[in-house]
Structure formats: structure tokens, C-alpha cells
């Protein structure tokens, strides 16, 4: 639950800081939405579409794994970044600065991954002395 709240916070900061990004969703490897700027029912549906988008991009590349994707249309653009099992997808206004959007998405995805990692426990002094 805490992980989802942190991810939601990261997405809220992303859409607040980027003038170009209008919405975003983070999808886990099992196809579930970790966080999104959409309501819960739309997010579940959209997570499936994002998974389909990743699969379609893989088929277009003869089975290669897609790392990034940009689809530009006159109505706006869709960006997608994949790292390990997680995918972040975002929509933007037409003609965005693609490099900046990719940078923002990668940074957000990494911050969510860092939050998910458990912090290493501090070793007791006696254990540390024994090891030394």
C-alpha cells in the first residue's frame, strides 16, 4: 500500500512539473496498475492497453524487447519506457520535446523502483567489530 502511495506521489509530481505530460500510468510486470493519474477502473483498463502496446511493439520488432516507444499523432503523443518488469506510459500534448519527456519518465520510474527496494538494516556495533 505504501509503495502504491509513493508511486502515486511520484506521478503527481511528474504531471505537476512537466508542462507537456497530461497523464501517466505505471504498470507492473503482471499487468496491474501500480499508480496512475486516472481513476481506478480506467487505470485497470488502461494497464491492459499498455501491456498490449508493449506486446505489439515487440511483434513489430520481430520479438525484440521494446525499451522505449513514442507514438505521435495530431491529437497528442504517447510515450512509454520499460525497465526490468515495470512500464511507465504517458500522454502529452501535440509536438512535445521527446527527449525531455523520456528523461522525465525514466527518472520517475527509477524513483519508484528505488522506493520499492528495502533499505539495508544497520548492523550492530558488536557484529561490525567481530567482522573487523
Amino acid at each position: 500500500m505504501c509503495r502504491r502511495v509513493d508511486a502515486a506521489q511520484a506521478l503527481s509530481e511528474l504531471t505537476a512539473l512537466s508542462a507537456q505530460i497530461t497523464s501517466a500510468i505505471v504498470v507492473d510486470g503482471d499487468g496491474s496498475a501500480i499508480a496512475s493519474t486516472f481513476d481506478e477502473s480506467s487505470a485497470a483498463e488502461l494497464a491492459k492497453t499498455v501491456q498490449e502496446l508493449v506486446a505489439a511493439a515487440g511483434r513489430a520488432g520481430d520479438g525484440r524487447q521494446v525499451a522505449q516507444l513514442e507514438v505521435s499523432t495530431s491529437a497528442g503523443s504517447v510515450f512509454l519506457v520499460r525497465e526490468s518488469e515495470r512500464t511507465i506510459a504517458a500522454t502529452t500534448r501535440p509536438e512535445p520535446a521527446a527527449g525531455l519527456v523520456f528523461y522525465d519518465l525514466k527518472t520517475t520510474l527509477r524513483s519508484i523502483a528505488d522506493q520499492a527496494k528495502p533499505k539495508p538494516k544497520a548492523r550492530k556495533k558488536a557484529e561490525a567489530d567481530a567482522a573487523a
Binding site: 486516472f38 513489430a60 495530431s74 497528442g76 500522454t91
Partner: protein
């Protein structure tokens, strides 16, 4: 001298019109850019069969964002 000015003005007007036309035409086209894990990239135009699979899914995402 006036002829030289006329030719320069004409060239400037033509290049400006060309730039505007190019921008308008490229704006109307849908495009898919794919970047793969192995470092390769693939750009697909609106008419390609691969783009015809990817584009409807992306439009669905865009529609959800605007609704």
C-alpha cells in the same frame, strides 16, 4: 540592383512558404518510433502494417487521457 533585391525577396518568401508547408504536412502525419533493448530503433509511418497495430492502441490511450 532592384532586380537583385527582388530575387532575394522571392527566395526568402519561397523558403518561408516551404517551411510552413513542410511543418503543416508533417504535423498531420502519425508516426511510431520504437527503441529496443539491443539498441536498435524502428520508425514506422502511418501506412505501414506494423503501425496499423500500434497506432489504434496508442489512440485508445490518448482517448482515455482526454475523456
Amino acid at each position: 540592383m532592384p532586380r537583385r533585391k527582388f530575387v532575394t525577396g522571392l527566395a526568402l518568401a519561397a523558403s518561408l512558404a516551404g517551411a510552413v508547408l513542410f511543418r503543416r504536412r508533417s504535423r498531420g502525419r502519425d508516426r511510431v518510433d520504437l527503441y529496443y533493448d539491443d539498441g536498435s530503433t524502428l520508425s514506422l509511418g502511418d501506412g505501414s502494417p506494423e503501425a496499423s497495430i500500434v497506432l489504434p492502441l496508442a489512440r485508445r490511450v490518448l482517448a482515455a487521457a482526454t475523456s
